[in-house]
Amino acid sequence: MADYFSTWFPEGWDWLGWLIAALIQAVLLLHVIAVGAVFFIWLERKVAGRIQDRLGPTRTGGKFGWLQTLADGIKLLSKEDLMPKDADPLLFKLAPYISLTSSFAAFMALPFASDWVGVRLNIGLFFIVAVLGLEVFGVILAGYGSGSKWSLFGGMRQAAQVVSYEVPLGICVVVPVMIAGTMDLVTIGDQQSGLFSNWLFFHDPFCMILFWVYFTCGIASVNRAPFDLAEAESELVAGFLTEYSGIRWSLFFMAEYGSMFLVSGLAAILFFGGWNGPIPIFFWVPEDNFTLETLANLVGLANFILKAVIGVLVMMWVRWTLPRLRIDQVITMCLKYCVPIAAFCFLGSLMWTALHIPFLNDLAPMQARADIREGWVQDIDDEMQRLEKRFALQAYELNSAVEGGPQQEAQTSLENDSADRVALSSTHETEESR
């Protein structure tokens, strides 16, 4: 995108194009969280209403109560911003921003379609897991900074929960990495293209079990029911959120809904093919066709968002169905069930891959996967080929200059060469603006 925008501007000004591209990406990502939260809060009420045999929002905004979130937002914005007397003012005020920032930062490396990703890291998955772990930090600070014992208890409970659930979550995440042979999320998603049986969920029976373990740990790590001990309203009033009101409270909730979407999106990429639909309709898209590729990416985006929203919907369904676990049950669930099951499935999946046992997904052979995996260095290969051609021509030219009498062929090659040079220097320029 930066390359495209930098062609708008004259030489030396292409950093403006880079800036525009970066701003567009940042604003788009912010809207995934902001608009997503607006939609999910409404959805949550609706799902809760349907599951518990109530109506949910109906009055605000006509049909389906679609203005409910907006009304909530206005109410929250107009609330008084309270702070307890004993609170540590700096930590109290900063905590919501830390929560939101860490949730937002993780979105940076989350691909929404093939190559539609803020920053493509070759360790994208690891980065997301590391940044998600920071969210607990905001919660601890909120709990401590409030200067209230309910908040402190809530923060400590949540920290204990999230830190312990990171262990099985890490084991679950390793298996797709192992099968795909990379931590680059774009590549992991691209490897699952083709029929839906290529999705890693169908890679082997162990992966099928593993997905459920991952999803359980995901729910626990974003602190949703039945793992919402930290904000248990019957025992702790609202946990670490007790003392927060107004916009700070809603920042925490934006972070929570952002993380829900993130965890579900990660599940979609790791186990359900990411942006690949169940049937490869865009498999025959010709290369270098910008319109068709964009269309394919848009359909991929719709696929991905649909899968992630289904994940969020399941989380809501679970929240309004299951009773809250006690703290000992939470830890038992993690250490006695999730960790052993995940470790067993890890071993099983490892054996399955090592022994090359076919399951449902025999459509993409190992060689094709390896080819996709090498996509990371593909454009380096292209550049090498271009350079090689240029070098050959230049060496030929040097020789013919020494021997005398430059020929017609060399003349045309010189023109090609200068075109190559321009192309190369323009890529260098954009790199510099980084």
């Binding site: 000004w13 400590m156 070098f391 060496a395 510099e432």
Partner: protein, 244 residues
């Protein structure tokens, strides 16, 4: 009219701008941590400083190490630290008063470390200038010209594998900032130096064994510390001084 500021901005190397931004954040919060009296705030400033350090590592292109820094230091150690602080910091211990002797000791240790690090930092030539990308490009151009000259001299039209192997990491570095760094670190641990193929000596064993020894050593230290802390508490109860 407004050309001058825009012209200045066009000269800006954004990599450098972000480097200074993050570096100032890291240094500033480190300083705030030293100056602060409140234990919990100290831990908080330490976290921000460490996170900014990981940002610096991300800027150098070593994404894996940066994520490691985030995961281990910011995500793991400091959460534990804050836990410890929160559990132990009662009203009496929440603010720390530093004695004069501590200040002198800290200044000697910290000052000598700073002097050493400054000397080392300024002895690395490319750190003195900020035109990292320009240098990289110059390096690529030099390599290209060298290869062209060699090809012209030998009168051949294709690169040798050795030349290709030399050019490829340079191009990757310009484009992605060393994309293969993750596997290089892993290979380096088991004794294969991908970045220095000339270091092909059989006696070279890699860093895996020292790494494991350090890990086990840390574990032993942890177990020992836990043991000492336990035995201290059980002594008075054995002497029958009370059941607290």
């Amino acid at each position: 009219m407004m050309n001058l500021p825009l012209l200045l901005a066009a000269e800006i190397n954004w990599h450098t701008v972000f480097f200074y931004l993050v570096a100032f954040a890291a240094c500033g919060f480190a300083l705030a941590m030293v100056v602060s009296n409140n234990v919990v705030r100290m831990a908080f400033f330490l976290v921000i400083s460490l996170a900014a350090t990981s940002g610096l590592i991300f800027l150098t292109g070593a994404h894996f190490v940066g994520a490691m820094q985030l995961m281990i230091y910011v995500g793991g150690t400091v959460v534990l630290l804050i836990f410890g602080v929160m559990l132990t910091a009662q009203q009496a211990f929440i603010s720390m008063k530093t004695k004069a002797g501590d200040w002198i000791l800290a200044l000697i240790v910290g000052g000598s470390l700073l002097a050493l690090l400054t000397q080392i930092a300024f002895s690395v030539p490319s750190w003195r200038t900020s035109d990292y990308q320009a240098r990289l490009r110059a390096e690529v151009t030099a390599a290209e010209e060298e290869i062209i000259a060699a090809m012209a001299a030998d009168n051949r039209t294709e690169m040798t594998p050795a030349e290709e192997a030399k050019l490829r990491p340079l191009l990757a570095k310009v484009k992605y900032g060393q994309p293969e760094l993750t596997s290089q670190v892993g290979l380096g641990l088991v004794g294969v130096r991908a970045d220095k193929p000339e270091l092909d000596s059989p006696g070279y064993v890699g860093y895996l064994l020292p790494f494991e020894i350090v890990s086990v050593h840390l574990l032993v230290v942890l177990v020992g510390a836990a043991y000492l802390a336990r035995s201290k508490r059980s002594v008075p109860s054995a002497a029958g001084e009370g059941g607290n």
